[in-house]
């Protein structure tokens, strides 16, 4: 059961993040929710590659050849996804700052001139 815990946590993180995005009206909080969701997805990927008692996947430093290693591919995917996550979060925050300058609010209930 303990083996499944990272997956449960990652799904919970995504669910909490999605809940924040849907319910909260403060744009900064929404960006935080998005960041939580991204962390959940990253944790999911890393947890997929984990092997019990596995070592880092570096061959020449492996003390006992033949021992199990964690999977490197998912870690590479996670690195890429973290970089993308930073870009999207930065862009979302930049939009929030500029929106605050133009509208004077970060409340999504009041920042909706497009609907009018």
């Amino acid at each position: 059961m303990l083996w499944q815990l990272p997956f449960v946590v990652s799904v919970a993180l995504v669910a909490i993040g999605l809940y924040i995005c849907i319910v909260k009206t403060n744009m900064v909080k929404i960006v935080m929710g998005v960041a939580l969701m991204e962390s959940g997805a990253n944790l999911f990927l890393v947890a997929l590659g984990y092997r019990e008692n596995g070592t880092a996947p570096i061959f020449y430093q492996n003390p006992n050849p033949g021992a199990e290693m964690v999977m490197p591919t998912t870690q590479a995917l996670t690195l890429t996804s973290i970089v993308i996550g930073v870009a999207t979060t930065a862009l979302l925050l930049a939009f929030t700052v500029m929106l605050y300058k133009r509208y004077g609010t970060v409340d999504t209930r009041r920042a909706r001139r497009l609907r009018e």
Binding site: G40, L48, T73, T74, L92, M98, L99, R102, R113
Partner: protein, 526 residues
């Protein structure tokens, strides 16, 4: 025509790399001269279009077997799809690349005049080329994680462009909204990719489908992944009920970008069809079984299509903002493509129905993708030209533009007739294919599709009447500048060719795409 062997061999990656190189050169050259970025962008996008042509020639000559390009290995044992990143280009991928090539070339020429007054042009052209990179990459790659990366590249670049007019708060509102939706969908896509990797340990879509097949079909986890993928890709395509950000983003983006936006959104449709057919619709000739009985999936796509068609057009009827109106029509037209190909997905496992009407429905749906990118791109460009002269998008504040903006008026008419499916325009050919085949699938849906077409015509008659007809305005605006007219002329020329020779286009362009989706299952029957 003689093409050097280097370009022949490396065409798939050059299509993606040329605009990427251009995107990073643009800001550097922009330091030297403020007018240089526009030429760099046009040059690299044209180069990319030329590479698409070379690639298309190669793909069609060996259709339906896809062209496989392995990154980092030339030939021999180095090409192992489990360890390598591969570009896999088939008829559908190359069709989407052609769409992006034509529309991005038209849009970049159009932008020369359109953003002439703005500062930050180097950034504009950088992001424009990055959007093209994202779209090209998504449709050419065979690796599902690469697809995610290119998906994010095109989303991020498009959001930057939606927020380009920094003097308006509304553009940030639209950009935030679109970015939020695309980021959340990106997380879901990553989750689905994680599920595939956890189960099969590979990221190549072809290898995933074979692994799924030898594991005895789609498991429960695969079905969860499918649910995530359908949500993500229909959101990217802008289909109802995930359409909330689309009208805002389309209408706030600068003129040329709205046109590229249409082509970039359609990569979502591509990815949806790719996963439905290549991964889940994979046919195992040894056991005679499919990975998934696609009947339910097909109906889900059809229902998404019908909802998009109907809700899109009814929302469009009440709009006063010319670009917002066109954006709702874009949602409505996306419904036709989902409907056509959705019918194909639903009858995939039934060869009799497939040959009777399924293939025609898919032909119609895929033909509609390229038609829509052309005429909706053109309509967005004409709306941008009107905005450029009047500085308003409100239909109530414009009248009599036809007196002086003659070319723009004619181009708008061509686009409007095409979108309404009036014969002999290209929209008519694809819609007719869809009506005929969908009628045999379910008559009620075909009737809804025709009704939507009538409403589309009504809505565009309204726009034409209120914006272009009527008394001459007091200060009649001049016609659009030359570069904008050239951009629109490119699209008009392609639309006219497609309208005159629909049979030839279906045979040369569309059939390889349909064959690629059905390969190796009914590929001979097309």
């Amino acid at each position: 025509m003689m093409v050097p062997e280097f370009f022949q061999d490396h065409a798939p990656i050059l299509v993606v790399i040329l605009p990427l190189l251009g995107a990073f050169l643009t800001p550097l050259i922009g330091k030297a001269s403020s007018r240089a970025p526009r030429y760099v962008a046009a040059l690299f996008l044209l180069g990319s279009l030329a590479m698409v042509a070379v690639l298309a020639d190669k793909v069609w000559s060996q259709s339906p077997i896809p062209v496989v390009y392995t990154l980092g290995a030339h030939s021999g044992s180095g090409i192992n799809p489990v360890f390598r990143i591969q570009l896999v280009v088939d008829g559908l991928g190359v069709l989407m690349a052609i769409i992006m090539g034509i529309v991005s070339t038209a849009a970049v020429l159009y932008s020369w005049s359109f953003i002439d007054k703005y500062s930050g042009q180097d950034k504009y052209y950088t992001l424009l080329q990055l959007t093209a990179v994202g779209a090209y990459g998504m449709v050419l790659t065979g690796d599902i994680f690469n697809l995610f990366v290119f998906f994010e590249i095109s989303s991020i670049a498009l959001c930057g462009l939606v927020a380009f007019r920094t003097e308006r708060g509304e553009s940030f509102e639209a950009a935030f909204k679109y970015m939020l939706y695309s980021t959340i969908s990106g997380v879901f896509l990553l989750f689905a990719i994680g599920i595939f990797y956890g189960e099969y340990g590979v990221l190549n879509m072809g290898v995933i489908s074979e692994a799924m097949s030898s594991a005895g079909g789609a498991s429960v986890l695969d079905k969860i992944a499918l649910g995530l993928l359908v949500t993500v890709f229909s959101l990217k395509a802008g289909s109802v009920p995930m359409h909330m950000a689309t009208p805002d983003a389309y209408s706030e983006a600068p003129g040329g970008i709205s046109a590229i936006f249409v082509a970039a959104s359609q990569t979502g449709l591509y990815a949806l069809f790719r996963t439905s057919f290549t991964i889940y619709g994979h046919y195992n000739p040894n056991t005679g079984a499919f990975n998934l009985d696609t009947y339910t999936l097909g109906w889900i796509v059809v229902i998404l299509g019908v909802l998009s068609m109907f809700i899109g057009v009814t929302m469009a009827l009440v709009q006063k903002d010319i670009k917002r109106l066109m954006a709702y029509h874009a949602i409505s037209q996306t419904g036709y493509m989902l409907l056509g190909v959705g019918v194909g997905i639903a009858v995939l496992s039934d060869p009799a129905k497939m040959t009777a009407f399924g293939v025609d429905a898919m032909r119609g749906g895929i033909f509609h993708i390229i038609n829509h990118a052309l005429y909706k791109g053109l309509l967005f460009l004409t709306a941008g030209a009107v905005f450029y002269r009047l500085q308003t998008r409100n239909l109530n504040e414009m009248h009599g533009l036809g007196h002086t903006m003659r070319f723009t008026t004619v181009f708008f008419m061509i686009g409007a007739l095409a979108i309404a499916g009036m014969p002999p325009m290209n929209g008519f050919s694809s819609k007719l294919l869809i009506y005929e085949s969908v009628y045999q699938f379910n008559p009620i849906i075909a009737v809804i599709a025709m009704l939507v077409s009538v409403l589309t015509l009504a809505s565009f008659v309204k726009v034409f009447y209120s914006a272009f007809l009527g008394p001459k305005p007091e200060n009649p605006p001049e016609d659009a500048p030359t570069s904008m007219l050239i951009g629109m002329t490119i699209l008009v020329a392609v639309i006219i060719v497609f309208s005159l020779f629909p049979g030839l286009v279906v045979e040369r362009l569309i059939d390889p795409a349909v064959r690629a989706l059905l390969f190796p299952w009914l590929a001979g029957g097309v």
